[in-house]
Structures are given as C-alpha cells and as structure tokens.
Symmetry: C2
Subunit: 320 residues, 2 copies
C-alpha cells in the first residue's frame, strides 16, 4: 500500500482550519460582546457600573488568537453529537469563560508590579488606559464573570455540567494551575532551572488553562474514561508545545511578526527552553510534542478530530 492511500480519508491538509476558525471566532466574539455587559443579571436589580464594564470589554473584545476558546469548541465537536444544541450552548459558555480567565491574567500580568507592559496587541494596556486600580478590579471582575457564564440561571446548562465546568476552570486558573505557574515564573527570574523545573512551571502557567480548555470542551458531553485520558494527554502535549514554541519564537521571530518585543525573555534573564536546551533541540522537542498530541487523538478513537489535529499543528508550526 502506498503512502498516498495509507490515510485516504483524514489528511490534515484537507481540513481548512482557517474557514473552520473564522465561523467559530465570529460566534465567540459575538457571545463575549453579549455577555461582558453592564446589563443587570437575571435576578438582580442593578447591573455592573459602566466604567468597570468598559475596562472589562476593552480587555476582552477584538483581540487575541482565541486559541483557548477554539480548543474548547474543537473538543466539544469531537466529543458531542452536533444535534445536541444544549451541549453546544454549554461549550460556547465554556469557550468564553476560559477566554475571560486568559484576559484577566493578561490584565494583571501587564501591571507595573508584574511585567509592567504598556502595549498589548498594539493598544495601551488596561492599566495605562484606565489606571491601575481599575485594571486590578477589571481583572478581578473578569475572573468572577467566567464563573457567572458557567452558571446560567435559565436552565440552559444542566447543573451537573455547570458543576464540572466550574471545577475544571477553577483548578486550571488557581494556585495549582495558572496563578501558581505565574508565581513560580516570578520567583525564577535570574535563577538556574532544570528542564524538569521549567516544565513544571509551564505546565502550570500556560499548560493548565490550555489543557483545561480541552477538558471543558470534553465535559460538555459525557465521554468515557478512554476518551478523557486521551484528551488529557493531547491537552498536556499541546500545552507544553505552546510554551516551547513561544520560547523558540522569542529568538527566531522579529518583533513586528510577533506583535510583541522579541528577545524579551533573554533580556529579562528568564529561563527558557532555548536557553536550556539550545534552539535545535527545542525545535525537535516541539515536533515530538506534536506527535504525542496526534497519537493521543488516535488513541481516543474519536472519529471527528480534524480541528483538534489542525489546532495542534498550528500551535507548533505558527510563526507568531
């Protein structure tokens, strides 16, 4: 059997990730615009103050690659029956919730006491635009809003799903997840780390929320243990790959392509995969992680994993 006919039905190349993403990104953008709002929530007399909501919307809307929401939606589509509109609604809420957590982490990360960044996606950062106190509160409110999105009062998401999604998101965002990884990052500037310590830091800082996105998409349905295990491996591999590639791009891409300052990690004396293993070994590691992610999807036995495959490929082969 020739190589051409060995995979007759599922070449990654035949899947148009751009077209797939475009539709979902528009839906996510519209949903975020609708849910990050000053309108009074159901059951409350008054909504949020307009000035706070303005800072929250500024932090969330019209920006970013939206990788985490796409991972939620791609996993949901791999796991759930497309006719199950309830699961699709839960997945859209989960997609927006992880993006709110990601957005709040950027707002707080950019503040003067952390990275002190003044530009993000070509715009002044939230604290530059609205002041530090407002940035702090907007970040805090975005985290709470993520859990509001997961717990609609209108019965549109089953309570068991709400509970599972809240649990996954809280652990991905918290002290043994994203916030914990940021704390390790903060403490490790200028320190020599082993490869194991570097991996642990990134598993928490970036990996936990990327893997959490995958698992939240999965838990909009009720997949079995084999599928969950495989998706956990997939999420873990692309979570780590994302960071390895970030480190590679920091030395190989120019600032204009990257949309942020290239070479920043090295100049900040931050430990990176490239500083630890060198560039060629880092590139080989990223390719190995992509293989692991794709093998995990094979193992899942799920029939519709094209979007997940294409997203893994995009994470590793992106240029910015």
């Amino acid at each position: 059997m020739s190589a051409v006919t060995a995979f007759p039905e599922t070449p990654v190349a035949a899947f148009n990730l751009d077209a797939w993403s475009r539709v979902r990104l528009a839906q996510v953008e519209q949903a975020l615009g609708r849910w990050v709002t000053a309108e009074a929530p159901q059951g409350l007399d008054h909504g949020a103050p307009a000035a706070l909501v303005e800072a929250m919307r500024y932090a969330v809307l019209d920006g970013g690659k939206r990788l985490r929401p796409l991972l939620v939606l791609a996993t949901h589509e791999a796991v759930c029956d497309p006719a199950d509109t309830g699961a699709a609604h839960a997945a859209m809420r989960a997609a927006c919730a992880v993006e709110l957590i990601h957005a709040y982490s950027l707002v707080h990360d950019d503040m003067p006491c952390m990275d002190n960044d003044v530009l993000r996606r070509g715009k002044p950062t939230v604290h530059v635009q609205f002041g530090e106190a407002s940035a702090l509160l907007a970040g805090d409110a975005l985290q709470a809003l993520a859990f509001e999105l997961l717990t609609p009062l209108d019965g549109s998401v089953p309570e068991a799903t709400q509970a599972r999604l809240c649990g996954l998101l809280a652990r991905a965002a918290g002290s043994a997840g994203m916030a914990g990884g940021q704390a390790i990052d903060l403490a490790s500037v200028g320190l020599p780390l082993t490869e194991r310590q570097l991996r642990e830091m990134h598993e928490l800082k970036t990996g936990a929320l990327l893997q959490g996105s995958v698992m939240m998409g999965a838990r909009c349905g009720t997949p079995g243990a084999r599928v969950l295990e495989a998706l956990e491996s997939y999420g873990s591999a692309i979570g780590l790959a994302f960071q390895v590639v970030d480190d590679i791009l920091d030395v190989t891409a120019d600032s204009a392509t990257l949309g942020k300052t290239a070479g920043k990690d090295a100049s900040n004396d931050k430990p990176t995969y490239v500083s630890l293993m060198g560039l060629p070994a880092s590139q080989a590691y990223a390719r190995r992680l992509l293989d692991q992610a794709l093998t995990a999807l094979d193992r899942s036995g799920l029939p519709h994993t094209q979007a997940l495959r294409a997203l893994a490929d995009m994470v590793v082969n992106r240029v910015c």
Copy 2:
C-alpha cells in the same frame, strides 16, 4: 398580657451567640487551614508552589471576625435538618469559600494602587510582607480557590448544589456585586452622592457578599420560595446595616477599639451615611434595618433563627 410573658420562649438574650460562634469559628479555622494548602489537588500531579500558598495562608488564617462564614452556617442551620451531614459539609465549604473571596478583596484593596494600607488586623498587609506581585497573585489564586472549594471531586457535595453555590458566589463577587461596588467606590471619592447612590454602592460593595453568604447557606438545602424571599430580605437589610454601622463607628469609635484608623473616611473625603444624613439619623437608620432583618425572619416561618437574629443584632450593635 404583660411584656414579660409576651415573648416567653424566644428572647434573643437567651441565645448565647459567643458560645455558638466559638464552636463554628474553630471549625472554620480548621477547615481553612486544611483547604488553603500546597497539597496536590485530587487528579493533579503537583500542588501549588509553596511561596504562593504561604501568602494565601497569611491573608486568610487567624484573622477577622468571620462574619460571612457565620452567616452561611447560621442560615444553613436555620434551613437544613441537622441530621443532613451532606448539607453541613456543603455549608462548611461555602463558609470557607465566601471567606476566601472576602480575604482576596482585602489583599487587593490594601495594595498601593487602591487604598495603600500597610497594616491589617495589626499585621503588615500582604503586599508589604510578600511584595506587590505576590499579593496580586495570592488574591487571584484565593478567588479561584473559592470555586475549587465549592466543586469537590469526591462526590461529597451534590452537583446541583455545587452549581447553585458557584452561581451565587460568582454573582456576589463580580461586576454586579463586590468588584462593581469597589469600582463605584473608587470613582466616587470626593464626589457628592445622593443617599440612593450611596446605598447602591454599598449594596454592591459589601451587601452583595453578605447577602450572598445568607443565600449560599440557604441553598445548601432546598427551601421554598417564601423562605428564600425572606432570607433575601434579611441578607439585604443586614448587608446595608453593616455599612451604615461602619460609617457610624468611623466617627464614634477610637482607632484602638476599631483596630483600624478611625476618621479615615472623612479625611479621605469619602461619602458616608454620617456625612450624608448626620449621626442621629444614621443610628436610627441602622436600628430600622435591624427591625427589617428581624421581621423578615419572622416572615420566613423558620423555627430555628436564633443565630441569625443574634448575628443581625451583633452587626448593628457592635462597637468595632
């Protein structure tokens, strides 16, 4: 019928709030000590970094009146069958979760870009002790941990209860709750507010989480609509009373009794009930709110509301 025999069975004085509180506070303290920890959560390979957890524990343990946890537990006891150990376990998790939200709000509130306070409960504030970046992250991680506590993976809290508690807490903490109230507070320094605007600010800033504590305690069980409505009124009245009394104490108590700087609101040119209505009218308003709270409890028809009554009395008649 004489005044002495008019209320033969239910005098507030016969209920020993101190003794009731002492037992519950010890349980809350022990539970917080166990749950704010660096141990790996179930299902995760690694726990939180020790330095972050140290800052989180510093912010949470051994301090504060724990009014919010006591409100959760008192409401749970008023609503639920004492033999229902599952509901009691959910209530203890809810009690700790609201305290984590309260603690994170104090950590962020004390930061230089907000109130810039260096002392809290007689100790250096978290950012003074651990640095601003660590304080920011510890607050963020405490908020996430609150939702982790509400979503245990061991089946000890029914998923429907988990979902309801997460929904209540997210809304109490978020942009139409506590964080929203802080944003209004921030924007209103030096501005003339009407009594309605001041009330709206406090309903969000302090009231939402106090009322949320009551409703979370209630939702550990499955009370009917009449009970829920009555407890909402009770929570709303004591939430507002708490703030009115805070404003009164700011001008009537000395700093030593208060444990914080007295007269601070006036010197910061913050609008208060006392600056708006004067001291006697503020005191009369606080007593009226206490009456409203107690009347709401009468309306609930619940038989065991002694702790809730005593807590309402304590909120209004406290001296610090």
